[in-house]
């Protein structure tokens, strides 16, 4: 246990001292300032108009979802870029040789790295997510439903990618790992949009092919359950009334992912992490 903690601490320190987290935090602050400024401008504009309270609520929810979508995006990018070099980089620089010839088990080293990055992601996501929600609340006295559950789902997205990235890092070079992960994520990103558009068309009254689009999109969610978790989070963040309106938002969820997808994502991350440990324990260093 102490080895895992030592490596987790090392990983966290490294992310901080190599300016990676600092830069990510600075960008996050810039984003929060931008969000607060934009939201207050739009809010004062809307205050002048005669929107019904119902539409006003839907508008607040739209901006909140847009803000959290950015947070979701920044978090998963941090998750990928922080960890793609974690294993392959240390193998390439031979740093790993001095680490694993200490009285430590290789799985402890890998779990320590995972835990270090997970801690970093929790803090980052927590700060940015809470920032968006609190800014919205302070400016418009609006609080979305299920904020904690939704942020937990975004965290799960990041952990799925983190586990996959560590797995790929045990066998591929940093560059290969990065390219593969981003392309893989890009595929499911587009797949999710296909599914979303298909769902909108279906709701609009059964356009031919819409059902196929939904099915195709959901296949990509099985390949990499990341974007699908965002849509589950977005669904949880929408007030029950908003989903009954025709207020179309690109950030909202039209085809609502089944809660079973959350279980699937947890299993997916656990299997990826298990394979990463197995692969790392067996390879020559």
């Amino acid at each position: 246990m102490s080895t895992i903690l030592t490596i987790a601490r090392l990983t966290f320190q490294e992310a901080w001292r190599r300016w990676m987290v600092v830069i990510a935090v600075l960008l996050g602050i810039v984003f929060l300032a931008f969000y607060a400024f934009g939201f207050s401008l739009i809010n004062s504009d809307m205050g002048g108009s005669r929107l019904s309270p119902f539409l006003l609520l839907a508008a607040y929810n739209f901006f909140l979802l847009a803000g959290l979508y950015v947070v979701h995006f920044l978090t998963i990018m941090l998750s990928i870029f922080a960890s793609i070099d974690a294993i392959s980089g240390e193998i390439g620089s031979f740093t790993i040789q001095a680490l694993v010839t200490k009285p430590v088990r290789r799985w402890e080293v890998l779990m320590g790295k995972w835990a270090g990055y997970a801690a970093m992601l929790i803090l980052y996501l927590g700060a940015l997510g809470a920032g968006v929600i609190l800014i919205t609340n302070a400016l418009a006295h609006y609080m979305p439903p299920n904020p904690v559950e939704s942020l937990a789902l975004i965290l799960l997205e990041a952990l799925v990618l983190l586990s996959l990235s560590l797995l790929a890092g045990t066998r591929f070079s940093t560059l290969t790992n990065g390219v593969a992960l981003l392309m893989f994520y890009g595929l499911t990103f587009v797949g999710t949009w296909v599914e979303q558009i298909g769902a909108v068309l279906q709701n609009a009254g059964g356009v031919p092919g819409a059902a196929t689009m939904v099915r195709l999109g959901s296949v990509t969610s099985f390949l990499l359950p990341v974007e699908v978790l965002w849509r589950r989070a977005a669904f949880l963040l929408q007030p029950p009334l908003a989903s009954r309106t025709n207020f179309v938002s690109p950030f909202a969820a039209f085809s609502v992912p089944d809660p079973a997808m959350v279980v699937y994502a947890v299993v997916y991350a656990a299997v990826a992490l298990g394979l990463a440990i197995w692969s790392f324990s067996r390879r020559d260093l």
């Binding site: 001292r17 001095a98 694993v100 009285p103 430590v104 020559d284």
Partner: protein
């Protein structure tokens, strides 16, 4: 003066490429005695037929060796001979394809055993954002040392490797030599019973090399077993008790260095001219002789410049006065009779280079 005297000298080529191992009986006998002797003691490293094959490339073909407790063992070979792979197998970094290995009585990579081992990797590099003390603190934690032990040991080691001044500097500001020094320090944190040093002096200046030598001598005095991987023969010669010569993943020969010193004496005899009378005078002594400079065509193209130097090899220095007497009795004028040991480099070339000519 004898012209073309070299043709009558009993030619024994014992150094340089082209030499045949068959002429080197004395060395093989030595090899056998120490192997037997080493086997009797308690081996810290014990391998038999250890082998590593990567897809099509054989990195280590057959590693069979025993290293007794407290020995400074040199592992010599040309680049790409499989030295590093062998060390990595002994540390559990690389899985052997075949064979058997025991390190401190346990299979390689055994967790509790790793706590008693120190390792300086060939390309020691570490997180450059760390300070020297932080790096040692991390490795101390990984060795399971408690905070008090780390606080005591870290300044000690920084002083030992001469980095006290640089204790708070980040590794990114370190020279290659300093990185190798801090790497050596991390390998000694746990007072190891066995230390693997893979090319420990490759990046060091003469001061650094001297330091490593001193540290090796100190460790040896404390009873530490040291496995020194190197192609710097001078380092090995200055520090090791025994050396193994490895080539193409095979141990070609294992030699004790201290017995080389007492058992093999090479002497250079320089006279005004090597005459048949001199050669006849030395013929019945138990020595091997070889004309070094030989008889060469003179500057005018015709006349020969007579040989003046003989290289002799014998068991000990008892024969030296006899050689001097016989030389003078033959009528030659004696300029020098200089004993010298064959250098490790000569032995290396003989053992490793011989194989080369056979390929």
């Amino acid at each position: 003066m004898e012209r073309g005297g070299s043709s009558k000298v009993k030619q024994v080529a014992f150094t340089g490429p082209g030499a045949r191992p068959a002429t080197d009986g004395a060395m093989e006998v030595l090899h056998l005695t120490t192997q037997a002797e080493a086997g009797l003691r308690d081996p810290v490293i014990d391998t038999a037929g250890l082998r590593k094959v990567y897809r099509r490339k054989i990195a280590v073909a057959d590693l069979t060796l025993q290293v007794p407790r407290g020995e400074v063992f040199g592992f010599l070979g040309p680049n790409g001979a499989g030295k590093s792979t062998a060390v990595k197998m002994l540390l559990g970094l690389v899985r052997p394809t075949g064979g058997r290995a025991r390190v401190l009585g346990q299979p390689p990579g055994h967790i509790a055993t790793l706590a008693r081992i120190g390792f300086l990797p060939e390309h020691f590099r570490f997180h450059t954002w760390m300070r020297a003390t932080e790096l040692l603190d991390l490795h101390g934690r990984l060795y399971g040392m408690d905070p008090a032990a780390r606080r005591r040991r870290i300044p000690e080691l920084l002083a030992l490797v001469g980095l006290t001044e640089a204790a708070q500097r980040p590794i990114s500001a370190f020279s290659k030599g300093m990185i190798q020094r801090i790497g050596l320090a991390q390998a000694l944190l746990n007072h190891p019973a066995l230390v693997f040093l893979d090319e420990p002096t490759s990046a060091l200046d003469p001061f650094g090399r001297m330091l490593v030598r001193t540290i090796i001598h100190e460790l040896k005095a404390q009873g530490t077993t040291i496995f020194l991987n190197s192609h710097l023969l001078g380092e090995v010669e200055a520090t090791c008790d025994r050396v193994a010569f490895i080539k193409e993943g095979r141990v070609l020969q294992t030699l004790p260095l201290h017995e080389l010193e007492s058992g093999q004496l090479q002497v250079e005899l320089r006279v005004d001219a090597v005459t048949p009378a001199l050669l006849a005078g030395l013929a019945d002594l138990p020595i091997e002789q070889r004309v070094v400079d030989g008889a060469a065509p003179g500057p005018d193209g015709g006349a020969l410049i007579p040989a003046t130097t003989l290289q002799l090899r014998m068991a000990g220095e008892d024969l030296l006065p006899v050689i001097a007497e016989r030389t003078l009795a033959s009528g030659a004028r004696l300029y020098a009779l200089t004993p010298r040991r064959p250098s490790l480099e000569e032995i290396f070339l003989e053992i490793v280079g011989t194989e080369d000519s056979g390929q």
